[in-house]
Amino acid sequence: MSKRIIEQNAEHLIFELSDKNRRSSSLAPDVDISAVCENLPEFALRKDNLELPQVAELQVVRHYTRLSQKNFSIDTHFYPLGSCTMKYNPRACNTLAQLPGLSGRHPMAHASMSQGVMACLFDLQNMLMEATGMKQVSLTPMAGAQGEFAGVAMIRAYHEHNNDTQRSEIIVPDAAHGTNPATAVMCGYKVKEIPTNEQGDIDIEALEKIIGPQTAGIMLTNPSTLGVFERKIKLIADMIHKAGGLLYYDGANLNAILGKVKPGDMGFDVIHMNLHKTFSTPHGGGGPGAGPLGVSERLQPFLPVPMVAYDGQTYRWVTEKEQPLSIGHLSAWMGNISILLRAYIYALLLGREGMERVADYATLNANYLLKRLADAGFEIAFPERRASHEFILTLRKEAKQLGTNAMDFAKRLLDYGYHAPTTYFPLLVPECFLIEPTETESRDDLDAFVEAMIKIRDEAEQLPDLLKNAPFELPVKRLDDVKAARELDLNYYYQD
């Protein structure tokens, strides 16, 4: 009897709602454009018409409100995307960071009009130092990858400062996030990959073999992207340090150990933190993030500027004048300050007990979910290990026996109202799901997720085609990625 109305789901492009003769705005000042243009030099002026959508305010509101409803998000769905730490973003962080005095401040406002925001940033620097056990923090990197870049650039600056110029390699585990090798190359280094052993730890013998005078440093995540804690970290640190290299800590997984273990104590020389993960700033459909750096004493002179200092009375910007060995600036000002403020607010709300609780409950949730899925018969990649805040499940059995791979399971999970875990990463585990439930999900939600996984496996056994064609309940069915890459359509106004 039901007759689905497909059109209801289709949302036009904003351009299709446009009419160039529409004039419906109270949003722009009233001014005679052509009179003004007479004051500008002819050669500089636009010759063609400007093409942008001319749509009335209600229709714009409606368009984007409806589009928003097509997203899964933390505010609407469980989103166990491994390595991404999709946890609750407290709304207070958003509201308060948008207070007029904060959001309206020009970056070049006089210091006397900037003490408020500088106090916040200074406090945040100190809190992050304390939480990570590092000696100094620079807040300026705008995401994890930029933190990595800055960190490795500092390693390079350090070696160069010591005239230790033969160091040309950065060691990276095979399980590492793609940003690690990409970063090393951006800093002019060659990448050396080292394998992981069956336990998910670094293969120490392999490491032994590639360390040498050419080693500039190593980039590690701990817990690693395999969801396990690298137990020999102290040994590794000693090995690298003995060879004259430095240790870089990719802090994407800090949520697992916040308040429990400090990267500084593990022997790292430089770290970045993804505030959009551990400190719960919004992921915003892809960003912005913030990737502050923390360093041990010896790298302190190389930190990127600006930073904030305090003399007990007044806050001031620390620039290259005070920090002459700095690797320099990474952004026009001090990075993603509106995001840093959200992290600061979150840190204040949590406090030190709250921070330790993050690691406690993130770990509890991950181990619980692991156990429940294992009990349900799913194969865990590192069954002997404790999960950190995340863990890996491999669907290779299901892929082989039923012909339904991890992607099929992922797509069908969407139908059940769950965002899929990270799939096919890390690369070394076949048909994998990297599952990170985070501390803000309730036990009931975890249990319901397990039920969905079990149901989907039942479906895979009984109706494998159902999975291969999933999803069915979303605004679109499975999308053709190959066509997307082959017949590029990236711009409404331009078709190749």
Partner: protein, 468 residues
């Protein structure tokens, strides 16, 4: 326990399921000597958790401390009116708390917004394709430089021609980011009476170069003759990187139409498109290029495709350029970008439309011209360059600029940017956008005049004292 939904009973049961006695036991693989307990460290720099009410009070106090002065500073960060609807919609949970759209079918909202963003940026810049965003204008310029070196295989050069009238801090950022790859920045001077790129010096460049950067408007707010510059660079076998202000492009020629063949890559700071000043970030870098360079673009790109039913949909595409696939051979290490800002910019452009954006731009120009005329009548205010400007201009004064800015700050005015450290004595860069009223322009003029005469007389007194 803020943000922790677990009840004590649930914790007990969960531990039971796992088969441990305590949460701490879950950390038993971590070497004992590494354990710390932040929660118990009452001497920590991290205070105990506070209620939302207490945190709100603190933040409100600090926000009030910084106030809401009248702002005449630009230099890469511009105050524009932001329609209320922009952030009411951009911060809807579904946009705000989603991540990178890895699962396309569950992320059509974000993906379509980015596709629209790409289209609008491409349209504004006159380029064929845009990516989904970079961090900001400065680091975006660095990405454009790296891209141009990759793209211009013919030139076999790692030299970039970098005009001195590109923002000094942008130049520093580019330097920081590209220097480890052996890329060099050749500084190109500007004409001392015009503020625009010195074509003669440029023409004396004889070695090959990967690209010429052309700022429009340049750091001083002045308009370059982009057509000449573009054609010259192309004749030399260099690419052209346009560095532009997106609001100015409402009136100014799109880089895609510069000279005979158009710029090859266009980058810029997207902040003017509905992003609040917020002390310099989070902003949004945009980058767009000709179709043939698309495989060299850094960052995420969204494409339109179809689903199993043949219905249109959107997905991340060309991922083989990116770090998560290509790893050490990626076009860039960027992963997280500025998605929320792209959403806001898309909303901003949609609300204003072509007509609205042009009005905003025109109002900036009109207000700027008004302030220039007013300042012309202030004694000893001089204009070192001709006045072919968009919404910024430079004045030179006969007193110390820091003192002037301090005096203006006392009257709750952000008076501009002291560019003397980079460009010579007593130069002040002033910006006027559509947000300024006639009253505010008068207030600025009068306050400046008063400050100047006060400072001059106190300098004279000081000088007098020293002489006597």
């Amino acid at each position: 326990m803020p943000y922790i939904p677990h009840t004590p009973d649930e914790v007990t049961e969960m531990l039971g399921t796992i088969g441990v006695d305590s949460i701490d036991e879950l950390f038993d693989e971590i070497p004992q000597e590494l354990h710390t307990h932040l929660a118990d460290d009452s001497t920590s720099a991290i205070p105990a958790g506070q209620s939302e009410m207490a945190v709100q009070r603190l933040l409100t106090e600090r926000a009030m401390l910084d106030g809401t002065p009248v702002c005449f500073a630009g230099g890469g960060a511009y105050e524009h009116h932001i329609p209320a609807a922009v952030w009411e919609i951009a911060t809807r949970g579904e946009f705000y708390s989603a991540y990178t759209p890895y699962q396309a079918e569950a992320s059509q909202g974000t993906l379509q917004v980015v596709y629209e963003f790409q289209s609008m940026i491409a349209s504004l810049t006159g380029m064929d394709v845009s990516n989904a965003s970079l961090y900001d204008g400065a680091s975006g310029l660095a990405e454009a430089v790296l891209m141009s070196v990759r793209a211009n295989r013919k030139a076999k050069s790692k030299r970039i021609l970098m005009p001195r009238n590109v923002s000094p801090v942008y130049r520093q950022v580019v330097e920081t980011i590209v220097k480890n790859q052996g890329i060099t920045l050749e500084l190109i001077d500007f004409e001392s009476t015009k503020g625009t790129i010195d074509l003669d010096q440029l023409k004396r460049q004889s070695e090959p170069f990967a690209a010429l950067i052309i700022p429009q408007p340049n750091y001083f707010g002045h308009l370059e003759n982009v057509h000449q510059l573009t054609d010259w660079a192309h004749e030399q076998g260099g690419l052209v990187i346009a560095q532009v202000n997106p609001i100015a492009l409402a009136l100014l020629e799109a880089p895609g139409n510069w000279g005979k063949n158009g710029a090859d890559i266009t980058v810029g700071e997207g902040q003017p498109l509905g992003i609040p000043l917020s002390s310099g970030g989070a902003y949004i870098g945009f980058i767009a290029c000709k179709q043939k360079l698309v495989r060299q673009l850094p960052g995420r790109i969204v494409g339109r495709t179809i689903d199993l039913d043949g219905k249109a949909g959107f997905t991340l595409t060309l991922q083989a350029r990116e770090q998560h696939i290509r790893r050490s051979k990626a076009t860039s290490n960027i992963c997280t970008n500025q998605g929320l800002m792209a959403t806001a910019a898309t909303l901003y452009l949609s609300f204003l439309g072509a007509d609205g954006l042009q009005k905003v731009a025109a109002a900036c120009v009109a207000n700027t011209q008004t302030l220039i005329s007013k300042l012309e009548s202030v004694p000893s205010v001089e204009f070192p360059f001709v006045k072919n400007v968009f919404h910024e201009f430079v004045i030179s004064l006969d007193v110390n600029i820091d003192k002037v800015l301090e005096a203006l700050a006392e009257e709750d005015i952000v008076g501009g940017i002291n560019i003397s450290p980079d460009f010579g004595e007593n130069l002040l860069l002033i910006c006027v956008t559509e947000t300024k009223t006639e009253d505010e322009l008068d207030f600025f003029t009068e306050t400046l005049a008063r400050a100047l005469s006060r400072l001059r007389s106190s300098e004279e007194t000081n000088n007098g004292e020293i002489q006597s």
